[in-house]
Every structure is written in C-alpha cells, then in structure tokens.
Amino acid sequence: MIMSEVIAMQEPEEKTISEKIMLDIRNLTKIYPVRGGDYTVLENLQLNILKEEFISIIGHSGCGKSTLLTMIAGLNCISGGQILLDGIPITKPGPDRGVVFQSPSLFPWMTAMENVLLGVEQVFPHATKNDRINICKYYLDKVGLENAFHKKASELSQGMQQRVGIARAFALKPKILLLDEPFGMLDSLTRAELQNVLLEVWNKEKITAIMITHDVDESIFLADRVIMMTSGPKAQIGDVLKIPFERPRIRKEVIEHSDYYHYRRHLINFLEH
C-alpha cells in the first residue's frame, strides 16, 4: 500500500527524465581474457547521459576509458550489463554514433571531401548527389577547411586532418558523438584552436557528446559534466563534477571565472589520489 503510493508519486518525474536520457549505461562490465586469467577492466559501471549534454571523461591511463567508449561505439563486445542508446540496446557499430579517434584515421588516398562523403552516402542514401556534397561542404566549411575540399588527406597537417575527422563525425548527424582524445596528438596551440572549432559546431548541432581527455582544462572548458573514472581494474565512476558555465563559452571568460580554479582543483585532487 505504502510502496505503491511511493511509486505513484515518483512516476511522472521519472518519465520525463527517461525521455531526456540519450545514453543509459547499466551495470556495464568488461572482462578481457588475458594470459593467466581474466582481466576485469570495468565492473558494474552506471552512467546516464542526457540529450544535448557534453560529457568529458578523465581518468588515469589504462583505467578503461577507451574500452568504455569503444563499447558504446559497438566496436568492442560487452561482457555484462547493457548500454541503451535512446532506449535501444547497442549490439553493433553504426553511423548513429559518430566516432572521432585519437589518430585522425582518414583514408589518405581520398580527398577531405571524399572522406566526409563516404559517410554521408551511407547515412543519406536517398539524397541527391548535390545535396550530399553540400552537406560535406557545409561541415568542412564549419571546421575551417573551406580551402582544402579537394586536398588529399595525406597532404593535410595533423590538425587539419583532425578537423576533417570532426566534420566527418558531425556530417553523419549521429545521435551521439564519441571522441577518444581527439586532440591528444596536437600541439597546445592547435589543440586550443580545435577546441573552439569543436564547440562552435557543437553549439549549433547540440549533439550529445562524450569526450575522453587527459587535459583537465580541456575537460572543464568543453563539458557540462566531467566524469572521473577510478583507476582499474574494476574501474567505476568515481566522481562527477557539474560545470555550469553558460554557453556559448568563451575561453577567456571561463578561465577568469571565479569558480574555475575550484573546479580545476577538484579534478586534480581526484586524479592525484
């Protein structure tokens, strides 16, 4: 009697929340079979990500961040638990999850345009050729490559290649963006530039995004919430930090905000334990 009352009271609120959830990770476990037994990287990991949310994940090297991301992408099999994307369990990779890898992984024998087009053709099979090209142009333009449409990917600098990678992921119009240290290989100037590019495009599209990073400042500047993972084995979510800065964000304002160093210290404290 009392139980049912409680449930009845909770129900309306729960419904609105579940409608807002884009990614629902439940009891996620990952076990790698290795020599001399099994290695449990993640155990019973729980995480909800709301629609239009930008999440950064930080954690020590080897704790299982990439493992988590590749499982969401469907490129790595799930040992236990479930991942629901917009309510549907993930079983295999698909273009509804745009992935940006650490190395740009463009096809070097294709031009920037062809690299983006390859995905656009898959996602919009019924669009006319012209429409598809316009989609590619739009995103390449947005990431600042308006002069490099027809350059071979192998002729582009690392930073430019990663711009194409970002354009390629956004052009798929995915439900969620998965970025695994996309700027890890870039120098700090290019990195800051690309953070701006990413935020600019993201502000327009508001695609739910998960980004792994090692850089505390990057995680604060970009994210609505920073997820901190405990060190493995059996890693879990250790702590979550909300970053309520207004959007669109301007780097200077963020850095000079009175709370910035508070957040920064919080993250560094976590990492140093």
Binding site: L75, P95, R97, S105, F107, L118, L172
Partner: protein, 338 residues
C-alpha cells in the same frame, strides 16, 4: 628546365645524373663534385675494373668453342646481332613491297581477282626474340596476377581461408620452373589441341610456367596487406556500416595497394628470371631459345652471343623493376614511403 631534367632522371632511375645537372646550373659546386665522385666516378671505376678482370680471365681460358670472349668480342657480337636484325627487316620490307607490287598489278589487270597476302617467314632476329620474351613474360605475369590477386584478397579477409591455403602456398612456392615445365607441357598438349590457335603452344607453356612460379609473391603480399590494414580504417568501415563490396574496393584494396605492388614487382622479377629457363626447354622463340640454340650451335661466336643475351636479360630485368617501382610510387599514398 633544371627541374624537368631532375624529375626525368629521378623517374628513369638515373639519379646519378642529378648532381651533374646541378653542377651545370652552378649550384653548390663543391658539394656536387663530391656527390659526382660518389655516384658517378665510383661506379664507372667499378665497371672498368670488372671489364679489365673479365678481359684478363677471358684471355686465359680456352673452351671447346675457342677462346672465352672478352668485352670487345661481346660488343662486336652485339653489333652484328643488330646488323642481322636490320638486314632481316630490309628483306621483309622488300618482300612486302614486291608482294604489294604484284597484287597491285593483278588488281589492275583484273579488279575481281582474288588477292592473297603472305606473311614473311624469315628467321626471327635477336630483337624479335627479345619481343617474344617480353610478350611471354607479360602474359605469364598477367595470368599470375589474375589468379593471385583475388585469392590473396580472400586469404587476407578470412583467417580460415588463409590457414587452409597456407600449406599449399608454402609447398608450391619454392618449386623450380624446370619441375613445372614437363607437367605444364603435358597438360597444355592435352588441352590445347588446335594447331592454328592464336597463341603458339610453346608460348602458352612458357607463359603458364612463368605464372606458376611468379604468382606466389603477389598472393602472399596481397594477403598480408589485406589482413594487416590499419585497424582504425576497419573501425571506420564498421561505424559507417559499409557493404562488403564497398569496404573491399573503397578501403581494403586502396590501403593494400602499396603492398600489392611490392608483390607484383617481386612477381615480375621472378617471372623474368624463370622465363629464360622455361623458354629454353619449351622452345618458345625467345631469349631462352636463343641461348639454347647458340649453345647447341657451337660456332666460334656462340659464347659471345650468349653473353650479349646475359646483358640483355639483366638490363631488361632492371628496366622492368624500375617501371614497377615508379608504378608503386604512383599508387602509394604515404608521402615518405620508398
């Protein structure tokens, strides 16, 4: 002008000419002279040394066919082979001119007359034999590639297929053309029975033998290339849910192309090498038969002529290799490779 010259030298594999071009344009004279010493003078000295040692030993050794020919004798034979070729060509031209004359006259007398043209049947010259050899090796190489590429791709795609084929590949790879030839001869004789087919029987036998020996390098390299394509590329293909055909032609093959060309290059080299042996035995009218005939012939010029053939084989092999390297550069997408 300078840039064009340098590019030409680069492509033809005559990189040693580059410092010369730079020297004439007055660029860093001292450094170019040093470079010339290394890349031009040293090889020339080596060649002169080789010729000297060769002439010395040639004058010491007497074979049943007379004195072992030295560089001069070989050079003379090279020239005389060229002369014979020109003479034979002239004969052919005259023959065709006479025939054309005759036919024209006959047509003038009687417009409805049946006019037959006859092929000139002189004996093949050295140049004809080189051309036959080239045709044979390309035929064999094409057959080998047509077999090796698809099987290589399939082996690269599936570990099971690879494991299945591997023992066969390992067993057949080291077999010499001399061992294949009798089998190929018997099979071709049994299967290819027409007497006036488009290809001569000996041509087909040599070509198939060449392919049997040369297809392995392409097969192995293709399989290796396809199975070791960057895992990120495969992941992108998975994320985009590319169809198997699209994945193969848009991603796997382009990614593997450099390795495929490495395989093709080795295959062509092997093919050219085994061609001579199989032509000798199959009596295909190419360089191999030329050597064999000269050997059987046993005239005083024979050894010198065989040596001309040795140099011809070496130089053509080198040119074929250069061509493959350049093709490989064209398809290779990594700027710094090679």
């Amino acid at each position: 002008m300078k840039a064009v010259a340098i590019k030409f030298l680069n492509i033809t594999g005559m990189r040693w000419g580059i410092p010369l071009v730079k020297l004439f344009s007055g660029e860093q004279v001292l450094q170019q002279l040093k470079e010339i010493g290394k890349t031009i003078v040293a090889p020339i000295l080596a060649i002169i040394g080789f010729l000297l040692i060769w002439s010395f030993f040639a004058s010491q050794i007497t074979t049943s066919l007379g004195r072992l020919p030295g560089p001069v004798a070989v050079w003379q034979q090279a020239q005389s082979l060229w002369q014979e070729h020109l003479v034979e060509r002239k004969k052919a031209d005259e023959f065709y001119a006479r025939q054309e004359d005759r036919n024209a006259k006959r047509r003038a007398e009687n417009p409805g007359a049946k006019i037959s043209t006859v092929e000139f049947t002189g004996k093949p010259t050295y140049i004809d034999q080189i051309i036959t050899s080239l045709k044979t090796v390309f035929m064999g190489f094409t057959i080998a590639s047509l077999i090796a590429l698809p099987i290589g791709v399939i082996c690269g795609l599936s570990k099971t297929v690879m494991k299945a084929f591997n023992p066969l590949i390992q067993i057949f790879k080291p077999v010499s053309p001399l061992a294949w030839l009798p089998i190929v001869t018997m099979i071709v004789s049994a299967v290819y029975v027409t007497n006036n087919g488009f290809f001569a029987k000996s041509f087909i036998i040599s070509a198939i033998t060449v392919s049997l020996c040369s297809l392995w390098a392409t097969l192995i390299n293709t399989a290796l290339g396809v199975s070791s394509v960057n895992i990120d590329y495969i992941n992108v293909a998975k994320v985009l849910q590319l169809s198997p055909t699209k994945k193969t032609f848009k991603i796997l093959l382009p990614a593997t192309l450099p390795l495929i060309f490495t395989g093709l290059r080795i295959s062509l080299g092997v093919g050219w090498m085994v061609l001579i042996a199989s032509e000798m035995l199959a009596q295909n009218p190419g360089l191999g038969k030329f050597i064999w005939d000269e050997f059987q012939n046993g005239s005083s010029h024979s050894l010198a002529r065989i040596m001309v053939a040795v140099f011809t084989i070496g130089i053509i092999g080198f040119i074929l290799d250069r061509v493959m390297v350049e093709l490989q550069k064209l398809v290779s997408f990594e700027k710094a490779s090679l």
